[in-house]
């Protein structure tokens, strides 16, 4: 509710002079400053070890910065009470690098987790998870446990889990890393479709070909320092003026949502299947 109001005024993610170090080591991220508008689509680029995963972890609240300010949906992370963090996390869908599926749970239960955790009714869970798994082409594998699925199938389970609760922000860490180019493009098209429905997207990758062909905005990490290239949707880099480009997308974003029961609706209602 509070978050809902702020979302239209504030960038969805804002970093201000953020630094990150692990323990007493040198800084993995240095003076990272950027702001992403709601509804934007960005690639996060950088060599291995440049700090892409660390940056994503800061956004999905798996890490705290060593310095600087991070605000998510207008909430300053440092001052947000610990009890409020789950609510923020539920608005962020993450496709983890190694998927991080729970191996003792079926594909169905893995995808259902975000809804169960949010206390969604059992009947709703059954309905939406079933729909989404069918949509990603795993209808016949709902009861299968992740270790018995192929890499591509596991990835689709991971993506389904990330989008089941209609997150405002979707982060994907190297989702195209283990798949061939055709699959990579197909995945990116899926993310673009989610983006059209209003979800803000950040995809970490080192597939530059992909980035060049699609022409979205990109965040480049070089040795812990970030530079921003605006794409189709402008990034408010100087943080002084509101960019107008993001307005229509914000409206689309809001139009695509119903205020009530938001958590329980899967974002994807299309009948199109991902093979």
């Amino acid at each position: 509710m509070h978050i809902e109001n702020l979302i239209n005024e504030e960038p969805i993610v804002r970093f201000d002079n953020v630094g990150l170090r692990y323990g007493l080591g040198s800084e993995v991220l240095k003076d990272v400053t950027f702001a992403l508008q709601t509804g934007s689509f960005h690639f996060l680029l950088g060599e291995s070890g440049a700090g892409k995963s660390s940056l994503l972890k800061l956004i999905y609240l798996a890490l705290r910065p060593s310095r600087g300010l991070i605000s998510l949906f207008g909430n300053d992370i440092a001052t947000t009470a610990r009890g409020q963090l789950p609510a923020l996390r539920r608005s962020v869908g993450v496709v983890f690098q190694e998927y991080r599926l729970l191996n003792h749970l079926s594909a169905f239960d893995n995808v259902a987790l975000p809804l169960r955790v949010a206390g969604v009714k059992r009947s709703e869970v059954e309905k939406h998870v079933g729909e989404l798994l069918t949509w990603v082409g795993l209808r016949d594998h709902m009861r299968a446990r992740p270790p018995t699925l192929s890499g591509g199938q596991q990835q689709r389970v991971a993506i389904a889990r990330a989008v089941i609760s209609r997150p405002r922000l979707l982060l994907a860490d190297e989702p195209t890393g283990n798949v061939d180019d055709t699959m990579a493009f197909r995945l990116v098209h899926l993310f673009e479709e989610l983006n059209r429905l209003g979800t803000t997207i950040i995809i970490a990758t080192h597939n530059h070909q992909l980035v060049e062909r699609l022409g979205h905005g990109s965040l480049h990490l070089v040795k812990g320092r970030l530079s921003v290239t605006p794409g189709r949707v402008a990034i408010k880099h100087d943080m002084t003026s509101e960019t107008s480009v993001s307005k229509p997308i914000k409206n689309l974003h809001n139009a695509g949502r119903e205020p009530e029961n938001e958590m329980s609706k899967p974002v994807l209602n299309t009948q199109k299947k991902l093979k």
């Binding site: 999905y60 963090l85 789950p86 996390r89 991080r100 987790l113 169960r116 955790v117």
Partner: protein, 293 residues
């Protein structure tokens, strides 16, 4: 032992397989301790009730039988006119001999040994007459009379029993503490083993309570399973002990029957232990998670 759907694979933890048996053992011991406590408590109050309000008046024999008769009559007159006294009975000689025989042998009945006269006195329940007061009243008029209200003997016995009761309570306390300790240990191990899955749950937006409930539910389930096994082992044991006790002289041990309330208390023990296990697991998880982001 039992399976519940869980977001964490707690079922497969080695420790969780051993936990129900440990709890079974704990419940077994605690049921025995509580049964012991109940028996001792009932015994003490039964003895107390049996002896409270009674006194024994003893007339020390002299060599003169005729005088002894007169003294007895004097004492009986005084007792009869005391309003506090509900009832009094003179123990006849045969009964006295029967009581003494096991201790001093056949000489008791030979007539060679001067036997005292004993009068069993029962006071009205509302009476506030002490042994000393009655003794004074009697010795004013009759010599060689002593009074025993069994207080000294009874007090020592009751104190002994109370000590045993306290000991049984201490045993119960230790059992609970040991259970709590074990649950803390297994829960922490579980947290460490499932750290990865717990982190995923957190990142997906699970509250600490949601994760803690997984552990708490598991502890409750394991506690109940183990507790019921422990109870089923303890009940026949108590029954066998009670049976053995009955074969003893019933004058030594009062005949204790477990009432419905006693059985309810014992049956509640597995539930109490399980709830303790559940709350311990919950608190342990909540505390550990507070330190995570």
């Amino acid at each position: 032992m039992i399976r519940i759907r869980s977001d964490l694979p707690l079922d497969r933890d080695q420790l969780n397989r051993f936990l129900p048996w440990l709890i079974a053992f704990m419940v077994f011991l605690s049921v025995l301790a509580v049964a012991g406590m109940l028996v001792l408590h009932a015994t003490a109050s039964k003895w107390d009730r049996g002896v409270r309000g009674t006194m024994t008046v003893q007339i020390v024999p002299s060599n003169d039988n005729y005088r002894d008769e007169a003294r007895l009559n004097d004492v009986l007159t005084i007792l009869a006119t005391s309003p506090e006294i509900l009832r009094y009975d003179v123990l006849d000689n045969n009964e006295l001999v029967r009581l003494l025989e096991p201790w001093i042998g056949a000489v008791a009945g030979s007539g060679e040994l001067p036997l005292p006269k004993l009068i069993d006195v029962e006071l009205r329940s509302t009476a506030m007459l002490s042994a000393d007061a009655l003794g004074e009243r009697l010795t004013e008029r009759v010599g060689g009379v002593s009074i025993d209200d069994h207080r000294v003997w009874l007090d020592r016995l009751v104190r002994l029993i109370e000590t045993f009761e306290a000991l049984a309570f201490l045993v119960l306390l230790f059992i609970i503490l040991a259970t709590v300790g074990t649950i803390i240990f297994t829960t922490r191990t579980g947290l460490a083993v499932h750290r990865e899955a717990i982190e995923v749950l957190h990142l997906i937006g699970a509250h600490d309570l949601y994760i803690a409930r997984q552990f708490a539910r598991r502890a409750l389930g394991l506690g109940l399973a183990g507790g019921i096994v422990g109870l089923f082992l303890a009940v026949p044991t108590i029954w066998a002990l009670a049976h053995l006790a009955q074969t003893l002289d019933d004058r030594l041990l009062p005949n204790i029957q477990f009432g419905v309330l006693h059985w309810v208390i014992m049956a509640a023990l597995p539930i109490v232990v399980s709830v303790v296990a559940m709350l311990t697991a919950k608190v342990t998880v909540m505390r550990s998670l507070e330190r995570m982001l």
